[in-house]
Symmetry: D2
Subunit: 133 residues, 4 copies
């Protein structure tokens, strides 16, 4: 992904630790895509009725990760309270989605991968929150 | 907007008080549009350099309201923790955007309107949070 | 919705016929919400396996209407080719979603409503395209 | 990015050439992030009034790439007309954004990078369109 290069070329000083910010953005972007794909893969499974909660939480997580990736990307005139509340909501969405995907990880490889990506995103978001204190 | 009719036609019982949920969704949708328009109107103003923080917070608020509107709309297999964290982040984004827009409300009518819409969305989100306790 | 007031307060002249633009934005926003809700309602239906294509097309239509609503909302430095291609893609997404929802309109009221909203959005988008020639 | 692994784990056969689809999704995702960042970097530049068209086209391109990345990611019950119209609109948005960013590439490194990413996304989208014929 090009986001690190973009932030290095930004005219304003980064709003915090560049490595931590880049990892948060990259995992949000990756997690949004994985969740969009996992919800769609669930729709193609033969045990579809058992996957309803997984689809729902993947759709929520994709929407929250998309918004968080965009908001954390922006470095001009950042509002720390907005960034913090957004990243906290993203942690909650990733955790709920990861826990549901883990329940299906043994029989659906896409759920196993999606749970892993959600876990990575949770950690990267928590690292960003810790760095903001 | 059609969202009330849609939720009334939903096969599952609504996850809470229908009026409160509908008002939260409708104000999120309206606020996302107002913020997208306000950021764009700012770009056309002659005092553009003074509007940078307003543009930034409008873009964040639009993204957060979009995600919140979608997540609160979904009624199947809702996760209360995800809904709550999302709506809280939306309140924070609306408040920051409203406060900045209020600073420009006297000389830019679009900021005055946008501040009002953000305030309505804040209240509707807080009402939803109160109804979930 | 507040979008008409916002566009009337915009510092730049509107990029075309205000009524046509406002109707396009409002129906895109309404259609995005209806499609998000219809996909979610489908997930709660007992004939879920028959609703897979409906869910898929509702998710696509919601994403395309969201992007189109945002792009048509922006009035500063518009690029007519971008607006036109976006609105055309929105027409295609609405038509596909409407046709699928119509197939389920008799047994699912949310599909009947969603098909109607998609049809309105199609027409409003086509009206905008016609006004741009 | 994890999207290739996710598509390989999908229960349904891919709707076309996997390599071409993955490259289209990955460049859409990367381009959405680069454009979000470029619009934000423009807001921090001292020649901000000259960057208004660049900001506008970056915001449009980010929205269109986000929608396209999501729609191309979905493999269940794909509608070829919807995919084609979406990807065509994405090509148009990327081209307009790339041409504007190229005008600023010499004095703003973030515009040079963003123009490159838009060009890659344009080509990946055109490759997907060619593979669908």
């Amino acid at each position: 992904m090009t986001i690190r290069e973009m932030l290095e070329a930004h005219p304003q000083p980064t709003s915090g630790d560049l490595d931590v910010i880049v990892r948060c953005i990259e995992t949000c972007i990756d997690c949004a895509a994985a969740c969009t794909s996992c919800a769609d893969a669930d729709l193609g499974e033969s045990d579809l009725p058992e996957m309803v909660r997984c689809i729902r939480l993947c759709l929520d997580c994709a929407d929250m990760c998309d918004a968080t990736g965009r908001i954390v990307t922006r470095q001009t005139a950042s509002d720390a309270a907005v960034v913090r509340a957004t990243v906290q909501a993203c942690v909650t969405a990733c955790r709920a989605c990861r826990e549901e995907c883990e329940r299906h990880a043994e029989h659906h490889e896409h759920c196993r991968i999606c749970a892993e990506v959600c876990g990575r995103c949770e950690r990267a978001c928590n690292d960003l929150l810790a760095s903001m204190d």
